[in-house]
Each structure stands twice: as structure tokens, then as C-alpha cells.
Symmetry: C2
Subunit: 386 residues, 2 copies
């Protein structure tokens, strides 16, 4: 994570925020000024466009007319206009990469999740840093003044805006401001909420998460989730084998097959997970073979992937020596994986899942199988009732 752009924001004050409060901006109703993209930004955008073989993007095309005459009104009828982009030092240049602003009147996690997933479609370009992207999440934005300050800043940064605003008037203000100020924007929650409203024949509340009118239901789901998390922590790393029969899912595998993060990920989704490490020379708990074998999952991993995970991990932790010691452990790792493989072969009901990919992905495979085994559906699915 990186620091904010405070040094690049001459028009925004750094006001300390008290717990539970959000900042209010004294200069959120600026004087009318022209939006002007900096020469650097234009050069940079053009160079990018030429490199990518695309036509020049919107900044290069902005007509003088469109940059002068836009105005947007807030709820109180106050005219709001973006401030001039400073010449000379340019924010986008300073940030090395393009920015995505995410604004939410709730937690912002939906916007973050959606942007994260969408950015997965650009890994080929992000990974080698040819197109670095900076995301900025603004959560709990529940008044239009704050919203306009952020959108103005997005205009200055040449950023795009992704928003999840439950309040329809806030969403409308965001949309209008972005249209008028030429900021590409995407409403993540609006279309799906509208579709569900029409499907259910019920109007959405328009209340953001945590708003006074929205009750927090102390649902079974809520308690089940907390209980699952507490259970899973207590069961981590083979602890309390006598509790295995209480688990929904049991993960078994050698060290570094991702048992712990996977257990925790599944626990967050409401499943009680126990994980049992497989270690050569250590007998597995008897209870593992007494529980319903349909809930046990073997985890394995390609030894080469494990090697590269160890190398990369060692590098990320800055341990030069560990790289060598991991290399030399490879024979042992292979042997241990084969040992686990023999246990899995003796328990053919346990599905064997190959890990070494993102936790979310392995979790999806485990849950698909879990629900399929439980419900014997024609097509594996995870069903919930709201």
C-alpha cells in the first residue's frame, strides 16, 4: 500500500479526523475554473495509446468547449466545478500509473472486490509494471460535498471512478459529475440492485450499510460465521483432534500446502474447518479416520510449485539463506508429498485438491465439491437462503 497524494493536492487540506468522523472539506465549493489537462499527462497518455496500438484516449480529445462549460449541482443547488489541474508537476506523472478511485457510502468492500477481480483481467500488463495501477478506496462517503471533493480529485488525477452508492441521489450526483467532468465512471451496485428490485418486485431501501434506518440483523448466519471462525482458529494445525467430528470440513496435507489460510478463508464463509498436518513419522489422529470421510479433503501441491513458493516467499521475507536451504530440502519435500499421497490412496473417498494457486481459487474448488457431495446436485452449486 502506498501513501496518499497529499503533497500533490494543493487545494485539499490535511485535516485530522476524529474516530468515527469523516473529514469535511472547507473548500469543497470552489470558484469556477477551467479543467485543463497538463502537457505531461497528454504526452504520457498519447505515448501509452501509441504503445498499446489504441486510438488516443479521451484526454487527448477533450475539446476546449467541453472543458469550460460543465457544471454540476449538488443536492442544495450549489454549483460545483472541478479545480484546475496544476501545470508543471503533474499528479499522474508523480504516481507512475493510472488511478482508479473507488467511492462508497458503505464499507467499500464491494467496489474493492469488483475492481480487484476486474484487474485480474489485466495481469499480463500489471505484473511486469508496464501499466501500474493505483487504487484509492474512499468508504463511508455519505454526503455530496465529500463526494464532489473526491470526484474533483479524480479529475485532477486523470483517474476513473468506480462507485457503490446506495443512496440514489448520491449515485445520480456521482454519475452527473463524472459525465460533466469527463471522468470515466462505473456504477457497480446500481445495475444489479435495479435488476433484483424488478425481479423481486420490491424497491431497494436506498440506505447504505450502517445507516441508522438499516438494522443489523443478528442473524443465525452472523453467529454461525463467528462460531466458525472461533472453531477454526482453535482447530488450527492439528489441535484438538477430538473435535474433528464437529468440523464441517477437514483439510489434511503436508506443511505449506496452504491449510491454514484456506481454513480461515472457508471459516469466514461460515464453515467450521479443522486442519490436520501430515508429517512423516507422526501418526495421524485416529479420529481423522472415524469421521465421515466425505468431509475430508487431501491437499497436495506440485513439488516444483512448492519450491517456487518457498523461493518467492524467502525472497519476499528477505531471507537469502533460506533460498539455499529450501533448495536442499527438495528431496525431503518430495518424499513427504509421496508419503501424503500414500495416505490419500488409502482413503479414496477423500478428494485430493492440488493447491499452490490463490486461496480463493482453492476455496472455490473445495466448496464446490463439498456442496456437491452434500446435496448431489445435477450441477455443483452453492445455495443460500436470504
Amino acid at each position: 500500500m502506498i501513501a496518499c497524494l497529499s503533497s500533490n493536492l494543493p487545494n485539499l487540506h490535511s485535516t485530522p479526523t476524529a474516530p468515527g468522523q469523516t473529514t469535511s472539506e472547507p473548500d469543497s465549493k470552489p470558484q469556477a475554473r477551467k479543467l485543463k489537462s497538463s502537457p505531461q499527462l497528454n504526452r504520457w497518455s498519447r505515448a501509452r495509446a501509441v504503445r498499446s496500438g489504441r486510438k488516443l484516449d479521451r484526454l487527448g480529445h477533450r475539446s476546449p468547449q467541453s472543458s469550460v462549460n460543465f457544471k454540476v449541482r449538488d443536492r442544495d443547488g450549489v454549483d460545483l466545478e472541478p479545480e484546475r489541474i496544476s501545470d508543471g508537476e503533474d499528479n499522474v506523472e508523480a504516481m507512475e500509473g493510472k488511478s482508479i478511485y473507488m467511492v462508497s457510502d458503505g464499507t467499500g468492500w464491494t467496489a474493492e472486490h469488483a475492481v480487484n477481480a476486474a484487474l485480474g483481467q489485466f495481469e499480463h500488463c500489471l505484473v511486469d509494471r508496464n501499466c501500474a495501477v493505483n487504487t484509492h478506496l474512499f468508504s463511508g462517503i455519505d454526503d455530496v460535498e465529500q463526494l464532489m471533493v473526491i470526484i474533483k480529485q479524480a479529475a485532477k488525477d486523470g483517474a476513473m471512478l468506480v462507485y457503490t452508492l446506495a443512496d440514489p441521489s448520491m449515485a445520480e450526483s456521482a454519475k452527473k459529475a463524472c459525465e460533466l467532468w469527463g471522468i470515466p465512471s462505473t456504477d457497480v451496485l446500481g445495475p444489479i440492485t435495479e435488476a433484483i428490485a424488478s425481479h423481486l418486485g420490491v424497491s431497494p431501501s436506498g440506505l447504505p450499510r450502517g445507516a441508522p434506518g438499516r438494522n443489523f440483523p443478528l442473524s443465525e448466519e452472523y453467529f454461525r460465521r463467528i462460531e466458525a471462525i472461533e472453531f477454526t482458529i482453535k482447530q488450527d494445525d492439528g489441535a484438538l483432534p477430538q473435535n474433528l467430528q464437529k468440523a464441517d470440513i477437514i483439510l489434511s496435507g503436508v506443511s505449506r500446502t496452504g491449510k491454514t489460510p484456506l481454513s480461515i478463508y472457508l471459516a469466514q464463509k461460515g464453515y467450521k474447518v479443522a486442519n490436520v498436518p501430515i508429517v512423516m513419522g507422526v501418526e495421524l489422529p485416529k479420529s481423522l479416520f472415524q469421521v465421515d470421510p466425505e468431509k475430508v479433503f487431501g491437499l497436495t501441491i506440485n513439488p516444483l510449485v512448492l519450491q517456487s513458493i518457498r523461493k518467492a516467499r524467502a525472497r519476499s521475507l528477505g531471507f537469502r539463506d533460506e533460498i539455499r536451504s529450501n533448495y536442499s530440502e527438495m528431496d525431503y519435500v518430495r518424499e513427504e508429498l509421496e508419503f501424503a499421497g500414500r495416505i490419500f490412496a488409502q482413503n479414496p473417498v477423500w478428494p485430493v485438491i492440488v493447491t499452490g494457486k490463490a486461496i480463493e481459487e482453492t476455496a472455490a474448488v473445495v466448496l464446490r465439491l463439498y456442496h456437491d457431495r452434500k446435496h448431489k446436485c445435477s450441477m455443483p452449486r452453492i445455495s443460500k437462503r436470504y
Copy 2:
């Protein structure tokens, strides 16, 4: 979670799925038949529409023409048509509520997250079960035949479809099939991916998560997240106070203020969290007062909310006796909260967060403050680099 509709799916076989495989449907290329909504479904939809004061929904309006002449072609040019909804026993009736189908060629978590967030807008109706909703998540759907089987089933169920399909031809097939078969549908990932593509000037890969062409980057982020989870588990419930200085965030509060689930939620986002319980008569670890106070957060809760959490929790766990014992503990709980309050007052740098709402919400408040304190931004934000 509820069982699948296997008993209601006369045309779908229940085929066992081997680990790592997805089901292939032998009858996914059905004969041409008429789509017909059942009389029950129509009555039910009409009754709902009348109750909600809305105009009758699409099922009541479906013209005989539109239900006969639609066809969709899969990638191989095979005609696919939905099968007839069985008369008499109706799927939707059997499910008591409306269905939302979620289809993904990846993990499906983005679709699930977005639907979950959008359903938050209908809590007023979901909570009292006036409009129960059943969601069905189909993940890892990477061929068009499976996709069509699911969409046909959605048509039978009178469901809506929410999809995240990275492969543009899959997304196009889903869209066309839904249009032709009159299924309301929402593409969650498409619009945001397109907007980002045009913002970056780079084409999306079109590869779903886990596809062979998509590398899994063993990024620093990945290792940081796993390390954070492992750290947080080890530090849970005041364990290893000598490690407090290694934590990014320290949560302190009396029992049941949600320290553990909150710690785990934050750990999943890559933060090393330690939590320190406040218990009357037990001295807090000295190290808590030696670390940077800016990273310590006090958690408190309204005693009445705590009471209702305990009551609801006891009810959900089926412990009748605990309800009474919790009632009688109220004085002690109040005293303990006041004790914690005095500690917080002695450490005015620690922000005090009121919990008792959804974990995600409290996490959003904690992280907003954490980043604000760290980066002193004009507007609290969480920034990341991709």
C-alpha cells in the same frame, strides 16, 4: 444453506463429480420445446406484484410468440432451447421465494459478493421473510454447454441470472440466451472490465481465474497475506504479548466485542493483527503501552446491544439456559465495559470503536482510521498498488 433442487429437475441427471472435474450434462442439447410458465408461478408473481404495488412482472406479460420462437446458438452452432417448465409441481413454488442464479467461469466470489451487497438493499423485506431469496452459485463454468444447462434451469425456476464471465464469447452467449429466453440478467464484471480497459488503454485477457494462460503471481501481496493470517492466529486472545510491536493493528476490548472475527477479517486483507482482551482483575501486558499507540484500537459495545447479541446467540445455539444467565450477567458486563472505558480514557490516542455491527463494517472503520493516521490524507482512503 439449502439443498439443491434435484428432485425438481426431471431433465437433469445427478452425475457424480470427480475431484477437479465439473459435471458434463448428457442432455444439454434438448429438443425444441415451448417455454411455458406454470399457472402457480403466474398467480404467485401476480399476487406479489399486487402486494408490492408494482405493475405485473415479466412472467405475466410473456407473449405466446416470444415463448415459441427464440433460439440461441452455442459456439459450435448447436441450437439450444430451454426445456418446458413442468406443469403441476412448480420449482419456484417448491422453493418458497425467488431465485438468483450466479454463474462464473472463475471462483464466483465476485458475483456472490455483489449479490450479497445488493441484497442488503432489500433487508427490510428479506429479514421478515416476506420475500425470501434463494441464491445458487455455479462456479468454474467454462464451457457453453454447462452454461446453457444452467440458464435453462434459471428459466424453469423463474430465476434471474447474475454472471461474471471473463471469456467474452461466454459472456455474449449468456447475454443472448437470457435475452431470448426472457431471463433478467446482469453482467457484474463486464462493464467495469471494459471501463478499466479503456482507462488503461489495454485489452483484458479474457481468461477466467485459474485458466492455464493466467499465471498465478507469487506476489509479495500473496505472502504478506498468508503471513498476516498466520501471525494473527498466533496472537489471538492475548497470546504472545512480546510480539505486539510486530503487529500492524492491535485491538483491545472486553470479551464479545468481536476482537477475534475482526482480527481475522483484517488479517485476510493483509494486516498483522494482535488482539488483547480486557478482563477485570487481569493486568494488561506492559508491551501494550510500549508500542506505537497510533496502532492500538479500543473496542467497546453498547451493553444493551451486547445483551441482545448474547440473547440472539444463545437462541441460535439453542441454549435456553444461557439466555437467563446472560440476563443476570448484565451488571457485570456493564462494570467490565466501564473498566475498559477507564483504560481507554487513560490512553487518549487509541480511538474507541463501537462494535456490535457487521464485522465488515467495523473493519471498514478501523482501516479508514488506520490509513488516515498513517498517511495523513486530506480524505481518509485506503490506497493500493497493482
